[in-house]
Symmetry: C2
Subunit: 427 residues, 2 copies
């Protein structure tokens, strides 16, 4: 019986024998190390004359003399959107009266009109645009849809309410026929008016959650994210009603998936190492991307990303960092500069001795995606990322964040992340 | 110009001319009507001698003398789960020492072992079980997996932490091979130990959100859901850390989808008609089902469901109400009795004059699903539901909640729902 008890205790204490646990320093020491990292990276950014993307004043298209050849949208107030719409309509009325007919001048959102700008580290839209005349069989439908969407957005401005893309579609099913048509024209209208989609008061479903050392206001209510239990606070779909961000966090931890988020929220990791934990539960949605950017810009905290060690993990990181091709016209507002790839990185698999059975073989498609990503500019500009991605493609192995559970359910929060912070091990 | 202004104003005021808006009474009058509905339905329940499912003491299997022929699980404390596991293992040790070998007695979760009990209005599991011997080629793997899962759950009990199914799978990929195997055995273990899956501290990803007149504690933090902005509060994945529910709401509004939820949250519908608004954003997940049930049981409020007018809307309602076949062993804890079908009902399409172009034709599959549902016991016992479903299958038309947007984006919150409350129009 005594023997049985002893064995049971040693099971409880298995955390003590976890790989690398022994080299962990005290939490205070790790936090001191992190503080010196932050101050040295601020100095480095200042030394580089504000050229680093982590500096407080990021580069703009104008700084690069690109503002005439590239197009960007801005957050506009509701009344400005209303004025823009009225200006467009008045122009068209004048054109009709002058005998020049009825047509919209719509920026092209095609791939050929997109450009990756290394200095900005994001994808932007070039300045090509096409005419959408009403008096043409091929474009009469699209012109009508564009007019209808403009009218609907104008209504939203007057009422100051938010709607979803689905709501918009249902206001005139007969005209729009299917939602992809109204959705596409909505993006056209954003570009035309030069404003972000959220300025149009059209929102997507919310998916993300946030927990940790952050206080902010959501539609007038003050939210304290240390007091959100394990569930966390759902990230609001309408960023324009989010404000007053305050935080004593030292960094933002961007987590790809739900399961890792829940582990960290339950263990209240943010109380041990002051941080804000955020996840979009998979593919980044617009609301979470806007929220992350707002945190980064207002709180000026480093962002560390915890994603799966597979090409999609890096892809997700790149969408947060450099934007998606589909919404390149709004990359300035949707992207968060200078996200660090903390893990799980391909080199971590051997470093942390992830057991063979917890690694998965990459499929042909995975390998192709990995190789394609090696050609992407935003990967190429970071030699560390190239090296890691090369290793992944060479070993043909991938692993999820959850693979760390093979050392015990709390290995992520008790050893892996503290050690990453201690060794400042991110790229 | 004056004329233009006038036309513009009439556009703003179009809400005044909305169908049925004119017959709406004042909010106070509607609330009075609702109060009398609640008190009369409480009286009716009391008059029926507690037999109605809305009474405070719901029927149990024991009341129906079914407890010996049916199997149900209960919420157990962590220490009870630990004791149950130890009891199972001691029994097996005794059996081995007695020369009877090593085997688990596992309740069958097959469809043939399930039963819909009309008096309870939910699906339950019958008492058949099968032997899972270690010394058999066909079951040796499953027996090993069962033993390993028991050991892992025992660990969770000792540490008092929650993990996801994915975490559990990753602790021994070599043995489990793929996650469906560890997931299935996890349900077996729930049945064997006679406890709910949440008692095992294994949780699913959170999906649902709640907003409105509810205060509750999540992992020790008090959450006021009137102060959660538009985003709302993410429903915690671990129901055992939820408690202290308080509310001055008059009803719970269960919403199928995100878009309708956001409309109601932004309009703060819960301030006009005191209520709690909850959604799982589509298919009901375990966390939202547990949360809804807990609200219903603790706050004793009527639950009104707002779902799409298609067979899947009714199916979703039935999962909240009567349970899913897959987890019938836990139907007592997962189901919320007496949910009312508020809308969008097939008869609403004509009643509210939903334009033809906002109705969608049902596919062959939709019609088949609708006809199958007409055969389900939980539909049959509600003649109103049968009538509506018959109408749907006959007209072959379906419609989403969003179809109401064709009358204006706020028609749902400004006319449809208030009128439903005024006319007490639910089934």
């Amino acid at each position: 019986m005594a023997d049985k008890k002893k064995r049971k205790r040693s099971k409880d204490d298995e955390a003590e024998e976890l790989p690398f646990k022994s080299i962990l320093e005290s939490d205070e020491a790790i936090l001191e190390l992190f503080k010196s990292y932050v101050s040295s990276s601020i100095k480095a950014a200042a030394g580089a004359g504000g050229a680093s993307s982590s500096s407080s004043k990021p580069l703009t298209l104008a700084d690069l003399s690109l503002s005439s050849s590239c197009r960007e949208v801005a957050d506009l107030s509701l009344s400005s959107v209303q004025t823009e719409i009225e200006t467009v309509i008045v122009q068209i009325a004048r054109s009709i009266l002058a005998g020049d007919g009825f047509s919209f001048n719509v920026p092209s959102r095609a791939a050929s009109n997109q450009l990756y700008v290394p200095e900005l580290d994001r994808i932007v839209l070039k300045d090509k645009s096409t005419l959408r005349p009403f008096a043409s069989v091929s474009s009469v439908r699209k012109t009508t849809i564009t007019t209808r969407i403009l009218a609907l957005i104008h209504q939203l401005c007057l009422r100051n309410i938010h709607v979803t893309k689905r709501d918009l579609f249902y206001t005139d099913v007969k005209l729009f026929q299917d939602q992809t048509q109204s959705d596409a024209v909505l993006d056209d209208v954003s570009c035309m008016l030069g404003c972000t989609r959220s300025s149009l008061n059209v929102i997507a479903a919310e998916k993300g959650v946030v927990v940790g050392r952050l206080i902010f206001s959501d539609n007038g209510d003050m939210i304290d994210c240390t007091k959100m239990g394990m569930g966390g606070k759902a990230i609001p779909p309408n960023i324009d009603r989010v404000g007053d961000m305050q935080s004593d966090a030292m960094f933002i931890l961007l987590v790809e998936k739900d399961a890792a988020y829940m582990r960290l929220a339950e263990d209240r990791f943010y109380n041990r190492f002051p941080c804000i934990i955020v996840t979009a539960k998979g593919q980044p949605d617009v609301a979470t991307r806007l929220f992350l950017r707002k945190m980064k810009m207002e709180l000026k905290l480093p962002v560390l990303a915890l994603v799966d060690s597979d090409p999609y993990g890096l892809k997700i990181l790149s969408v947060y960092g450099c934007g998606s091709k589909n919404m390149s016209y709004d990359s300035a507002n949707l992207t968060t500069p200078d996200i660090k790839w903390l893990g799980i990185r391909p080199s971590d698999l051997d470093k942390y001795k992830i057991p063979e059975q917890c690694r998965l073989p990459m499929t042909e498609q995975d390998i192709k995606t990995g190789k394609d990503m090696l050609e992407e500019d935003f990967v190429k500009k970071n030699p560390g990322w190239v090296e890691e991605l090369n290793l992944m493609v060479k070993t043909k192995q991938k692993a999820e964040i959850q693979a760390l559970s093979s050392f015990g359910f709390q290995y992520l929060s008790e050893v892996y992340l503290p050690l990453k912070l201690q060794q400042q091990d991110w790229l």
